[in-house]
C-alpha cells in the first residue's frame, strides 16, 4: 500500500530556484539546487542539533549562566544568606559551569564536522553526545552537582529545612500539574464524569513523585502512574468495563517505559 498525499507547492517555492539562478547564486539547471528544493536537507551539525538545540553558541552560554544565577536566586528566595554563604554558593556554581564546559568542549571537538544527515555518524557518536545531552536536559545544577553538595554543608539546619520544604512544594506543584493534565488528556480519549476524574486524581496523587525524572519523560509520568495503579483504579475509580478496557489499551503506549523512572 502506498499513501499518496495531495501535493501542491506554493508559487514562491516553485520559482525560488529560478530567483537564485537569476541572482547568480546557482546555475538554472543545477541538479543540486533542484534537489535542495525537492527534499529537506539537514545540514546542521550534530553538536548544534543535540546540544545547542537550534540556539547560537552565544545564546546557549547566556542561558547556562542565567541558570546558574537562577539556582542561587532560588536559594536566596527561601533563606537569608550571609555574604560568606553566598560567595561559597557562587563559587560552587562557577565550578559546575567550568566542569560542564570542559565536557562540552571535549564532545564538541569529537563530533566536529559531522552533520545530522550522516546517519552512520549519528549512530556512532550518540554514546559520546548523550551524557552531555542528558546534562543539558536535566540542568547543570542537579543533585549530583557541586552546588548541591556545597548547599548541604553551607546552609545551617534551619535554612536547609526551609529550602528543602520550598523545593518539595515546587516539585509537588509540578507533579500535581502533570497528573491533572494526564487526566484532562484522558478525558479526550475516554468520557469521564467529574467524580471519576477526582477519584483518578486522588489515586495518582497518593503516589510519591519519582526521585529522578528526565525532562523528556515528564509527559509519560502520568500514564506510568496510571499503569502502576491499575488495580486500585479497577476497584476505586468507578470506571466501567468499556472505560477500563480503553484505558488498558492506552496504557500499552507506555509499556516498558517504567524502567526510566527511579522511585
Amino acid at each position: 500500500m502506498i499513501y499518496l498525499a495531495p501535493v501542491r507547492l506554493s508559487l514562491p517555492t516553485q520559482i525560488a530556484p529560478l530567483i537564485l539562478a537569476w541572482l547568480g547564486l546557482a546555475s538554472m539547471t543545477s541538479p543540486t539546487l533542484l534537489a535542495q528544493f525537492a527534499q529537506p536537507v539537514q545540514k546542521q551539525g550534530i553538536f548544534q542539533q543535540y546540544i545547542l538545540q537550534q540556539k547560537t553558541e552565544k545564546a546557549f552560554r547566556e542561558d547556562v549562566t542565567a541558570r546558574s544565577l537562577d539556582f542561587i536566586e532560588r536559594v536566596k528566595q527561601v533563606c537569608q544568606l550571609d555574604l560568606t554563604q553566598l560567595e561559597k554558593l557562587q563559587l560552587a556554581a562557577e565550578g559546575d559551569v567550568v566542569r560542564f564546559y570542559r565536557e562540552y568542549e571535549r564532545v564538541k571537538s569529537e563530533v566536529k564536522g559531522f552533520t545530522m544527515n550522516d546517519a552512520q555518524a549519528r549512530q556512532r557518536l550518540w554514546p559520546i553526545v548523550s551524557p552531555l545531552y542528558m546534562r543539558v536536559q536535566q540542568g547543570i545544577f542537579d543533585d549530583s552537582s557541586l552546588c548541591h553538595s556545597v548547599l548541604k554543608t553551607t546552609l545551617n539546619a534551619s535554612q536547609l529545612e526551609q529550602f528543602q520544604t520550598a523545593e518539595a512544594k515546587r516539585l509537588n506543584y509540578a507533579f500535581t500539574a502533570s497528573c491533572k493534565t494526564t487526566i484532562a488528556d484522558l478525558s479526550r480519549e475516554i468520557p469521564l464524569t467529574g467524580e471519576q476524574r477526582e477519584k483518578l486524581l486522588s489515586i495518582m496523587l497518593s503516589f510519591a513523585r519519582p526521585k529522578k525524572l528526565h525532562p523528556q519523560m515528564e509527559n509519560m509520568l502520568g500514564m506510568i502512574i496510571l499503569g502502576k495503579s491499575i488495580e486500585r483504579i479497577e476497584v476505586e475509580s468507578g470506571l466501567d468495563k468499556k472505560q477500563l478496557d480503553h484505558l488498558v489499551a492506552l496504557l500499552g503506549r507506555v509499556r516498558g517505559m517504567e524502567g526510566n523512572f527511579e522511585w
Partner: protein, 261 residues
C-alpha cells in the same frame, strides 16, 4: 555559469518576466487545489482519510459516552442518541475544494499568498461549528433536566482542563523565572481564566522548555517582578491550538480507533 550582477538591466527584465509568467500560471489543475499523483498500474493506493471526519467521529463517540454516563436514559433515548452517526457528520462537512472567497487565484497578490493545499473541510472554524451542532443534535433528544446535567458535566470537564493546563504553564514558568508560592497561585488563577474557551496542545510546551503560549502581558504583569517580566517578554511565544495540531497530525497518522462508549 558566471555570477552576474542582479542589477544588470537584462537581469531585471528577466526577473520581471519570470514574476509575470509565474503569477499568470496557477499550479492548480482545472481550478482544483490538489494535484492527484498517479499511482503505477496495478498498485493499490490508500487514499488519505479526511481528518475532520475522524476528529468529529471521535467527538461524537465521546460526547455520546458522556451523556450515557451522566444521565439516566430510557431505551428510546439511547436509541435516539445512537441514531446520530457518521452519516450526519458527512452531511455537515463541506464538500469539494475550500472556498476561495475574495482570494485572487492569479496575479501578484496570489504570488505573495501562495499556501499549501488544504484538504476539503479541514477548517478548524467550520469543525468547531459542526461540533456545536453535533452537541445540540445529541442533547435535543434529552429533557431539560438532562440537558442541564450534560452541560454541567461539560463545563466541569473544561474547567478541569483549563486548571490543569494553567498549572502546567505556571510550572514551566517557574522553571524559567523562579516563582514564589504566592506567585504560582495568583498566576494559576489568571492563566486558567485566560485559557477559558481555548484548547492548547500542551505537549509542545512540556517537551521543549523554549516556548510559552501567547499569554498577553496584561495577564501576568501584575504578578511578576520587573526582572521576571523581562524574561517573560524574551521567551518565544507560540499558541499551538489543539484542534489545528490534531487535524495536522491526523493527516499523517493512522485513523483513530473508533470506540463506542
Amino acid at each position: 555559469m558566471q555570477p552576474t550582477s542582479p542589477c544588470q538591466p537584462r537581469n531585471l527584465l528577466l526577473f520581471g518576466l519570470m514574476l509575470l509568467l509565474s503569477s499568470c500560471f496557477d499550479s492548480s489543475v482545472h481550478g482544483q487545489d490538489v494535484l492527484p499523483l498517479q499511482a503505477p498500474e496495478g498498485m493499490k493506493v490508500q487514499q488519505p482519510k479526511d481528518p475532520a471526519l475522524m476528529y468529529l467521529k471521535r467527538h461524537l463517540n465521546l460526547r455520546r459516552g458522556l451523556i450515557k454516563r451522566v444521565c439516566e436514559l430510557s431505551e428510546v433515548d439511547v436509541k435516539n442518541l445512537d441514531s446520530v452517526g457518521e452519516d450526519w457528520i458527512k452531511l455537515e462537512l463541506p464538500k469539494g475544494a475550500p472556498k476561495q472567497d475574495g482570494v485572487l487565484k492569479q496575479g501578484l497578490p496570489f504570488f505573495f499568498r501562495g499556501a499549501p493545499g488544504q484538504i476539503a473541510g479541514n477548517d478548524p472554524v467550520k469543525i468547531r461549528k459542526i461540533q456545536s451542532l453535533l452537541d445540540k443534535k445529541l442533547t435535543d433528544y434529552l429533557s431539560q433536566e438532562q440537558r442541564e446535567q450534560v452541560q454541567t458535566a461539560i463545563e466541569e470537564s473544561e474547567r478541569f482542563e483549563c486548571e490543569a493546563n494553567a498549572q502546567v504553564l505556571v510550572s514551566l514558568m517557574d522553571k524559567r523565572f523562579i516563582l514564589t508560592a504566592d506567585q504560582r497561585e495568583s498566576l494559576e488563577l489568571k492563566i486558567a481564566s485566560w485559557l477559558k474557551g481555548k484548547s492548547l496542545y500542551m505537549e509542545h510546551y512540556t517537551l521543549q522548555n523554549n516556548y510559552l503560549p501567547d499569554i498577553p502581558a496584561s495577564v501576568v504583569e501584575n504578578v511578576l517582578t520587573s526582572d521576571q517580566r523581562m524574561r517573560f517578554k524574551a521567551i518565544n511565544k507560540i499558541t499551538f491550538d489543539r484542534l489545528g495540531t490534531e487535524l495536522q497530525m491526523l493527516q499523517h497518522q493512522q485513523p483513530l480507533a473508533e470506540q463506542d462508549y
